[in-house]
Chain length 281, copies 2
């Protein structure tokens, strides 16, 4: 997915929001905005939004000197999601269709996103998404694909959401590699967050090598690229990964909630939709 004009004010909003999380030094925050402002005229619009986002978040790290501004928030999100784990596990097991319920739970976790403007209430949103109709729901093909799979590559998105990903991985019950970001960016899941979420109990955790708030294959490390090329099934969670991977040539199953108007438009669904979408069947 390419960068749209609407992404530009959004970069500025994200720069302010993350800088405010990182520091209370107005001079540094203004410097971030100055540099992101300066960057606008050189933004390659053919790049995906996350590719440009990577540059924005790099500037925030450099200017504020804060490596992981969302660290505490991520820990809280993981703790909150963990407090819901047993109940949701039971709900999935007792459900008529455990796989579908687990997919819904994993998508519900995708509301834990500090890169967008929307507020969320995890418990309420989970309840809603458990009943919500899918705007795109390629579940039959997904079922077939995982039945035949030996190895699944599961690309995580946000910390906290990762706890719900664990439930889906357990429900699928196949050998899974869980890929995370190389370094902290927004509240995206990194290796330590995945371990804190208990992912290490159900999957092998690898870093994609990517420092953007999404997955850009050219910027991933060799190990991830190999996994990506060879995996029987690729599950991609969330908007950032969709932005980076939507024009890829291999089969991918995207699971996400459409929280950004541009992504909703790109996917041709209403804002707020939940989606299980297959590309390159």
């Amino acid at each position: 997915m390419k960068t749209f004009l609407d992404c530009i004010p959004c970069f500025m909003n994200q720069a302010l929001k993350t800088s405010l999380f990182a520091t209370d030094d107005d001079v540094k925050i203004k410097k971030v905005l100055d540099e992101v402002g300066d960057m606008v005229k050189n933004i390659p619009m053919s790049y995906s939004p996350v590719q440009n986002g990577e540059i924005v978040y790099k500037k925030i790290r450099e200017i504020t000197g804060v490596y992981d501004p969302y660290k505490e928030i991520k820990q809280k999100s993981i703790a909150e999601a963990k407090s819901m784990y047993d109940d949701l596990k039971q709900k999935i097991e007792e459900s008529e269709n455990p796989l579908e319920t687990a997919i819904r739970v994993a998508i519900a976790g995708n509301v834990i996103d500090f890169g967008v403007e929307l507020k969320f209430n995890l418990k309420e949103d989970v309840e809603k998404i458990l009943k919500q109709e899918f705007a795109v729901f390629d579940v039959e093909s997904f079922k077939k694909s995982i039945e035949n799979a030996n190895e699944i590559l599961y690309i995580g998105d946000n910390a906290g959401e990762s706890v719900f990903d664990k439930l889906l991985i357990e429900t699928i019950g196949k050998k899974t590699i869980y890929a995370v970001r190389e370094i902290p960016v927004i509240n995206d899941v990194i290796v330590q967050d995945a371990i804190d979420s208990g992912i290490d109990e159900v999957a092998e955790i690898v870093s994609s090598g990517c420092s953007a708030p999404g997955t850009i294959i050219e910027k991933c490390n060799a190990e991830f690229k190999k996994l990506y090329n060879n995996a029987d099934v690729v599950i991609s969670k969330g908007q950032g990964n969709y932005e980076g991977l939507s024009d890829e040539n291999r089969q991918i199953f995207f699971m996400l909630k459409a929280k950004c108007p541009i992504i909703a438009r790109d996917m041709n669904v209403p804002m707020g939709s939940i989606i299980l979408k297959e590309i390159n069947k």
Copy 2:
């Protein structure tokens, strides 16, 4: 009121939104964003937001070549407000407290604001605001001031809102000068909009000389400055005028709905509040 860091992404949002109203030429829109981005590092933060906003809207006019992008929207807003005029007039006349009801109606009109992100439904919002509690309500002092006044300077804000301003001016029943912007900026009221709203039937219309989306005294023309200095009562509608006038030394009555978090913070009221606030009693 000075410019806050939060205003900077907002300038970018406004630049995009207004450019999209003005043109469908992506190259021109991108050029606007480039220039507003470039402007960030030089923004005088001691200026009021509308003073910086003036520069943003000037750039939009210059680059898109469109002088009045909200012209149609303003006409629609005026027509919609006019369709409610008779009902509201009756409501005011039959009300136990006509002045207070007319103030509420005039503030309700302030929801017609295309400079902010909030959506509005004029009919529903009027009903709500007719019952809403005021966060600040300096009505006793306002009553006294208008009783003793020979001449009132009423500084308009948005086109459409102007129709409801007419109702308040009629209810007050004193000689009134209605001040408007010099040139089109967002959906702010200009001379023609004021005439289309029927203001000429109840007040003398003057241009403040100001091209910002608010009133900045130093940038106003000599006629307006004289009126402003000599008026017995000054009524200032809306956020833009508040931004420009909140640090002034003369008595002013501000009437507005707080639709921007920064203004709400500056006024120490919750977002969405309705306000009749006197300064320099």
